[in-house]
Symmetry: C2
Subunit: 355 residues, 2 copies
């Protein structure tokens, strides 16, 4: 014989309220208690106007009494919306992406979206897997960050029924909505400034040239400034490295050996490593070497001397990207596809007065 105990009886048996986890109430329970249909309860839960005030109150009361919370999964299945977005990013541990993420998160919460987060370490294979997984979880939108939009990734995104916005990530084909700073100009400006100050040999330290953001943006800005004063790029001043402190420490002597007297660096971790190498080898900074980094994370304030940096509105890049995504999810049109947020050059201690 099967005995089904009600909660109170069960309590007596078990003796400890904490052991008796109440089965979560369903919309059905609420409807029953009030004596209305599921549809009515659903309407009040979803803020539908077509409910008499008196009914609404009764339902609300019952919801409160039962501690009813709509089951988001069931909701998702029925409505095809999950009120969840996905973030695909290289690494939470990198301050640059962490701050973008923070911006995304805050705006997402503001619009009552939850956030599914995946680290892919810039591995296109994992990017694709992540996107597929997000699709199967029926996210309403995706924000993609990372150095490079691999072809396979692009294809996957293309086949998606879900809006995607890029944040701090460049799409050479300009097919996807994105939020960035004007990388070309930023690198142009800082290079030009350094050249104006008499530097003959300005090193550029970037990520892989296979990535559009380095090749077509950072390097392009640098080249433009050089060309403008009638000079060509000299490969010996070009360096590439991953965002890794230790590895960059190994790269440092090579940069020094190149004869550069100034360097522009694409990432703060990399810049700090170079700076510390110079510091530990008693270089005079900025006397012997000027140094500009480009993400303006906490690192550039914390380092001694403090790093002059291209400042990006990181939090805002994330926030704006997320805001755009909400519009897309809402089938609204975007005014701009490729949003460029303003950047600045923050003068600190690793350069002389800039202008």
């Amino acid at each position: 014989m099967l005995i089904i105990l009600d909660e109170e009886t069960l309590l007596k048996v078990v003796g400890d309220r904490n052991v008796v986890k109440k089965q979560n109430a369903t919309i059905y329970d609420v409807a029953n208690r009030v004596g209305v249909s599921l549809a009515t309860v659903s309407r009040v839960v979803n803020g539908n106007k077509n409910v008499r005030d008196s009914t609404k109150e009764k339902v609300l009361k019952a919801i409160d009494e039962l501690g009813y919370q709509p089951n988001a999964v069931a909701r998702g299945l029925a409505s095809k919306k999950s009120t969840t977005i996905g973030i695909v990013m290289p690494d939470v541990t990198n301050l640059y992406y962490a701050e973008l993420t923070r911006g995304i998160n805050d705006v997402a919460n503001m619009y009552h979206y939850d956030v599914l987060l995946t680290n892919t370490d810039d591995d296109p294979v994992r990017d694709v897997l992540a996107i597929n997984s997000l699709e199967s979880k029926q996210v309403d939108g995706i924000i993609f960050m990372g150095n490079e939009l691999d072809q396979g990734v692009m294809k996957t995104i293309d086949a998606l029924n879900i809006p995607v916005v890029l944040a701090g990530c460049v799409d050479a084909q300009k097919k996807l909505p994105s939020v960035n700073i004007d990388y070309i100009n930023a690198f142009y400006e800082i290079t030009a400034s350094l050249l104006r100050h008499g530097h003959e040999n300005v090193a550029l330290v970037m990520g892989s040239l296979d990535e559009a953001i380095n090749r077509d943006y950072r390097l392009a800005g640098y080249t433009k400034a050089l060309n403008e004063v009638g000079r060509q790029i000299d490969e010996k001043f070009l360096f590439t490295t991953g965002r890794d402190y230790q590895k960059t420490l190994e790269l440092a002597p090579k940069v020094v050996a190149s004869g550069a007297t100034a360097m522009i660096v694409y990432d703060d971790v990399v810049a700090v490593a170079l700076l510390n190498y110079l510091h530990d080898h008693h270089f005079d900074i900025p006397g012997q070497m000027e140094l500009v980094t480009s993400n303006d994370t906490n690192y550039s304030i914390i380092s001694r001397p403090q790093l002059t940096s291209i400042a990006q509105p990181k939090y805002d890049i994330g926030a704006v990207a997320m805001r755009m995504l909400t519009k897309l999810m809402n089938n609204e049109d975007l005014k701009e596809q490729a949003v460029k947020l303003p950047h600045a050059i923050v003068q600190r201690q690793t350069t002389h007065e800039l202008s």
Copy 2:
């Protein structure tokens, strides 16, 4: 008259493959194509043995051809499992938590869980909201990080039908499984060491004393060391502050004014701020002031001088917490409820030789 076009016809009309997003295939489509029932397809998808090999192959082939991907939401509703876990944390932007998160994420992915991430800025109200939201999304488990388990939060967790593991977060009542280092001993050791080296006045810089982790752990270890040499705590050497660079800069002169000749700091951002204050005011470190921090994030390597630190296996704390959670979600028993991972003291440049 309503005309429903098949994809190919639609293609001819629209002319652009990219505009025709294929409707995702369902389990039903697969079953139809092979000529078996839904149940059979479901079985092969879920790796159930009871399927003849030849059938299995046919199904697999159809799945491949249709590009079928199970709908995780429907699955979740039917099976009551979401293969998703939730993380509730103060702030992704804090390197300490970011590294824990990284550990959690990697292990979660290893076990094919996705991760829902919420920042709550240590606000108990938002903690509760986040947990409720996660519950309604039917996550299979939750990892909670943060300074303090507020009463309300505790209550919410108690009422949950979902396993929760704490990471880098202390539960004074020891009711919840958790992963930490042995904070008491860590702070005891470093304090004792500093005392042995002749410091009369050792400052302790922590977060709020309302939080158990500060009051009952960090302070307790510090006190123990003091008592051991027959001394009492002197309130004038106790300082509390949030994890904020600028605010700590304001606190710094007070710490100096206290007459302390050594300080133990609970967070790297805070420690770096203090260090930089001292550096910028030309203090001799460690000559005039020794400084120990306690999270050993990148900051302590990047700062100049580099920070001596209590080293925590941050990534592993996250990883182990997640591993424990998988067991709990699998209804396995835990060997230990409160796991303590080993810590170490990493000697760098802000202290003299320790012992």
